[in-house]
Symmetry: C3
Subunit: 162 residues, 3 copies
């Protein structure tokens, strides 16, 4: 067995815009950070919604970009769940059991990720496609493309697509 002294690395592509899947991503990421991994979450497509600010930010947009902006949830707390969404009742149930069991909500998990210096990256190419502006995303987010993701992931110990 060869022991490498390097820091272990975890990278997660968060593609999904579902509350439960984003929870899973952030729980694994926070666990890995607590385990002293260098951790990156690369938010792309619908996963970008987890990084949106709750309030509306005035940004000039084309028609399609405005539509996407309106239809997509504004921030982690507004995201639906992947199963049993039941006209929005599902997320309420999930948040209810989270509270009851003293577990962390998605916004709290994102807060913790920042405190643990997890690198939160927004994919610039899909931001462009969906018409999202940096002003609409949380502070402290990094901006990069697929090349930067691959530079991290190719040395990653745990690489997941969620």
């Amino acid at each position: 067995m060869i022991v490498l002294s390097e820091t272990k690395k975890t990278t997660i592509v968060l593609f999904s815009g579902d509350y439960d899947k984003a929870m899973a991503a952030y729980i694994i990421a926070n666990g890995a950070a607590a385990y002293d991994h260098e951790v990156t979450i690369f938010h792309t497509f619908w996963g970008l919604n987890a990084l949106r600010k709750e309030e509306q930010v005035p940004v000039k947009k084309g028609f399609l970009e405005k539509m996407f902006g309106k239809m997509m949830p504004r921030g982690a707390d507004k995201m639906g769940i992947s199963k049993m969404n039941m006209a929005g009742m599902g997320p309420k149930m999930i948040k209810h059991v989270i509270q009851k069991h003293n577990a962390m909500t998605l916004p709290q998990l994102i807060e913790l990720a920042k405190e643990q210096d997890i690198k939160l990256v927004a994919c610039t190419m899909t931001m462009d496609l969906l018409g999202l502006d940096q002003a609409e995303l949380l502070d402290g987010v990094d901006y990069a493309g697929v090349a930067a993701y691959l530079a991290d992931a190719q040395d990653g110990n745990v690489n997941l697509f969620i």
Copy 2:
């Protein structure tokens, strides 16, 4: 090239509660075990349903936990599929073609996984959230949290999130 003599490792996070996705997870896992990998499937969120016993097990639960318990499929055979579920017709079609082509059903794939000593782990944190009790899950299942998953995955050759 450096040849490491260690056993190769495959870890799969099974998050999905879809019959077809769980099939893919168990086919890859059984393939990896046949290939002499050490294999772990970490069942979390809706993936826990693949490990539920078919019969109802009397467990005291709160209201929300009872609702989740009722709404979620009881065992692998009851799970829906991710595409073309068509009011439940999809799973029947899939099972029909599986039978016709002498392929293995999901319950058979889970049986094979046990025979091949694949470690089937249930995520205790999400069991707690969804109100699932150990008595409701198949025998021979291990119970652990995200730290145990990461301990396996950080040395994994193939790590997937399904």
Copy 3:
């Protein structure tokens, strides 16, 4: 730090039949190839639809296989999206913004993948289940099973399931 001189490897299991998820898979794959990785995309279940020819190919099939064949999209351009499909309007919007931003459509990304010598593999076991014939898939596709996938993935630097 140990520097290995070997070529890096990226393997992607494309399970999903969604346009946007397949786009993400092919963007990462093309990025990795540009980064000099050896890249394999293993198409299984609904991901096989990305490899279907657009025209109908006369193949003798059983009833169920014919039904699957009719219900599943014929080729990348016909695939729906995972979120906000809105009776088919979603894919049109996505293609519209792709065009507007001079990004590549999924068929163009598949073309580029071929030019970059990315290995496009169709899973023979699920082709059999869904009743897909080699004559129905694009030219230049390889045919293999889970063992071949694992042989690639166990030495992979970046292994993803999409």
